[in-house]
Amino acid sequence: MKDFAELYLNIDSTTSTNRKIDYLSAYFEKAGQRDKLWVMALFSHKRPRRTVQMRLLREWAAEYADIPLWLFEETYHIVGDLAETIAKLIPPTEHKLDKPLHKWIEELSELKDKADEEKKRYILEAWKSQDSTERFLFNKIITGGFRVGVSQKTIVKALSNYLKEDPARVAHKLMGDWTPNNTSFEELLIHAEPGDIISKPFPFYLAYPLEGEPEDLGPVENWTAEYKWDGIRAQLIKRKGELFLWSRGEELITHQFPEFTSLLSQEGDFVVDGELIVCKDDAIRNFQDLQKRLGRKKPGKKILEEHPAALIVYDIMELNGNDLRNQAQSERREILKNWHRSLDSNMPIRMSHDLKFKSWDDAKELRAGARDKKAEGLMLKSKPGPYKTGRKKGDWYKWKIDPLIIDAVMIYAQRGHGRRANLFTDFTFALKDGDTLVPFAKAYSGLTDSEFREISSFVRANTIERFGPVCSVPPVQVFEVAFENVGLSKRHKSGVAVRFPRILRWRKDKKPVDINSLDDLKALIR
């Protein structure tokens, strides 16, 4: 654990990616194989199964720190991180013990079926033997969410330095749903060829947002355009009579979407990339409908009928065992079209069509009309470009449509965490509905630090009621709230749900009577 704590402190003390890579490579050089694998897993959010309830952890920490639970909760809310709160609250180390990282993790997983009293004894003993950083890391292992600013790309680079192997190959080996429980460092990275494991997906090629004008991309004839759908990115694999559907988060979701098993009846092996959506009677549904599907581990007959899923395919990386990723986009597109044509017509696979445009002005017009097509914007791809690994500039760009905007009034404010612990940073906004106000969105980003300070002093001076960290305020401050899309929703009091709401501007020039109504918002539903 000492080495891991040192690694963590080093990584946490720099913002330079290169330095992080150096620290990681150095760690890989000296760490044991099991520890290495766990570090890779923890940093890529493959955390071990939770064996201790968060509620209990909080109670034990408060008890050990000899403070009332309410004080623990208030403090936790302000610090914003449970692992850190506990590490900083509890009494100092009693007797230092150095146990390797994987040992801690294994012991934690062995707690699974133990009685709460026994778990408590173990956790308290552990805390007593760890220093402050180790406690924080130990707690993080339990709670999950290692946000240390280490991207997958950084891990890949560090491993490729350490193993002296091509980063793209390392990235490919790291794909899939391996965990330190079902593989070893040697098996995952040294002995195996990526192709040995038939379920293994390719690293997704990720697009950059287009900043500036499309004209900057050069001659229009080098580019293709297609709609960008609002679903989730997925990779569908058929190899040796087996089918695998992977989400972009590298979760295997094959069983959640049984409609794709019909593809097993089709000829040949393939790996295709596309957008997973819900599509009924040939009409693409909004994201809320897909969310209903994503929430079900085992969908029933009814939901399958009401919300059938489909994959809108836009790339093909492998066909009958041949890796196509180095071929040009335009060639892959032809192969994809032929493949799609060869499928039976009742397959849940739709082709992402190339849009026709002769000039960038044509493309702009297509983008402007994207919302009517229920798309989020356009994807621009360069015709000669290969299928790259990870987020790389140059060949794929997402060109989103401008957000929808509505004027709303603030009715609740919530205190922020960490640096903004004494500011109010999360706000709930409402729209008019006859004589009443209906909350419709929560948003936090979009204001400058000085605006946050100003609105915070307004909240402090005008709080009507306090509900823990949340304060209600008189509805007088008007804001422009931007969002990507809006759809009907039964789960929300307002009856509508907006996608990615954020504050665009504080409209000090506007009065509460000037805000939009709920009907105005509903009118934006396509």
Binding site: T75, D81, K88, G418, R419, A421, N422, R453
Partner: protein
């Protein structure tokens, strides 16, 4: 009901004595705990403060103000009310103000800390009936390390940088933290350079007879000196053209907020040293318990939470709304 001090719209008021303590609106007579801008405001007709604060007040407010200094521990009588100043350990010249008559003893502590520095008098524990306290770091996660340990961290960071000719910029309030850093780091590592506003404060202090280490303004230093230097710069001047001129520099923040990982990360800081001029959780509790006060008034910081905590511990406490800010989490105001 206590009556010697009231919490009025202009600030803490002693009617009997005819004076205010750290008022935020212009008054006739103001007693000032320390020279930070949220406690020492302009516009009062008469100021009374600890002797070391006199020059600072003149520098920060105006050279024309009417200000009187008083040394620590000396008791004077203002209209039948006894007044004395006692070390608060917060910054140079910072005082707790003790106010008493035959009925009540009050201590208004302003901002305070318990750690002992080489360059200022340590916090004085006092008994009183009514204690007015801050609670800037009034949460149980704020637990300062031994100051020597933090100073060692600063020294070794500076040493590592200077050995590879990398200038070390440390962010610290020009009044208070800057002098604490300058006076307590290991001098032999390299030259200590300052930002203009730190230098100005230092000059004022030296002119009024306070001994400080010799420092140089950044603009007066050679390239070689800069490469080995610890450069003390106020938070407001970080990320400015001033720091941009210093090539290949390393940056660190010295603040109690650096105790929170979120605060450090959101600043994008490579290095954060947990060094505060305010009391931590154990410090606040220790100081308050010692007073044996029958009532504690909590003025600024995590007031609601800290008040609730004190009451849960059997200490009668109440939150009072003031306009003091303490060490802000944004590190922008000079408090």
């Amino acid at each position: 009901m206590p009556s010697l001090i009231q919490f009025g719209p202009k600030g803490l008021y002693c009617e009997k004595g005819g004076f205010y303590i750290d008022p935020w609106q212009p008054v006739n007579k103001a007693l000032i705990t320390h020279a930070h801008s949220d406690h020492a405001r302009p516009g009062h007709k008469n100021y009374l403060c600890q002797s070391d604060s006199v020059a600072l007040l003149k520098h920060r407010l105006s050279s024309n103000i009417k200000v009187q200094g008083q040394c620590f521990g000396k008791r004077i009588n203002i209209n039948g009310v006894d007044v004395s100043f006692h070390p608060a350990g917060h910054i140079i010249g910072s005082a707790q103000i003790r106010v008493s008559d035959s009925q009540e003893v009050w201590v208004i502590s302003g901002d305070y800390k318990l750690e002992q520095d080489k360059h200022i008098e340590p916090f004085e524990f006092m008994k009183c009936d009514y204690f007015v306290t801050e609670s800037t770091f009034g949460l149980p996660v704020f637990h300062w390390k031994d100051q020597e340990e933090t100073l060692q961290e600063i020294n070794s960071w500076w040493h590592n940088n200077s050995s590879i000719k990398r200038p070390s910029i440390i962010s610290a309030y020009s009044l208070g933290k800057a002098q604490r850093v300058i006076e307590n780091v290991e001098q032999s590592i390299g030259p200590i350079l300052t930002h203009g506003s730190v230098d100005a404060i230092n000059k004022v202090l030296v002119a009024s007879g306070i001994k400080l280490r010799k420092t140089k303004k950044l603009v007066e230093a050679t390239e070689d000196e800069i490469s080995r230097a610890l450069i003390v710069c106020p938070p407001g001047a970080m990320d400015s053209s001033w720091t941009a001129r210093i090539k290949n520099h390393a940056v660190a923040f010295a603040s109690g907020w650096m105790n929170l990982r979120g605060a450090r990360r959101r600043r994008g800081v490579e290095k954060g040293f947990v060094l505060s001029d305010h009391a931590d959780w154990p410090g606040l509790n220790k100081a308050i318990r010692y007073t044996q006060a029958s009532k504690v008034f909590v003025t600024h910081g995590y007031t609601d939470i800290f008040t609730k905590w004190l009451n849960s511990q059997g200490i009668n406490a109440e939150t009072v709304k003031t306009q003091y800010t303490g060490e802000t989490v944004d590190n922008e105001n000079e408090d």
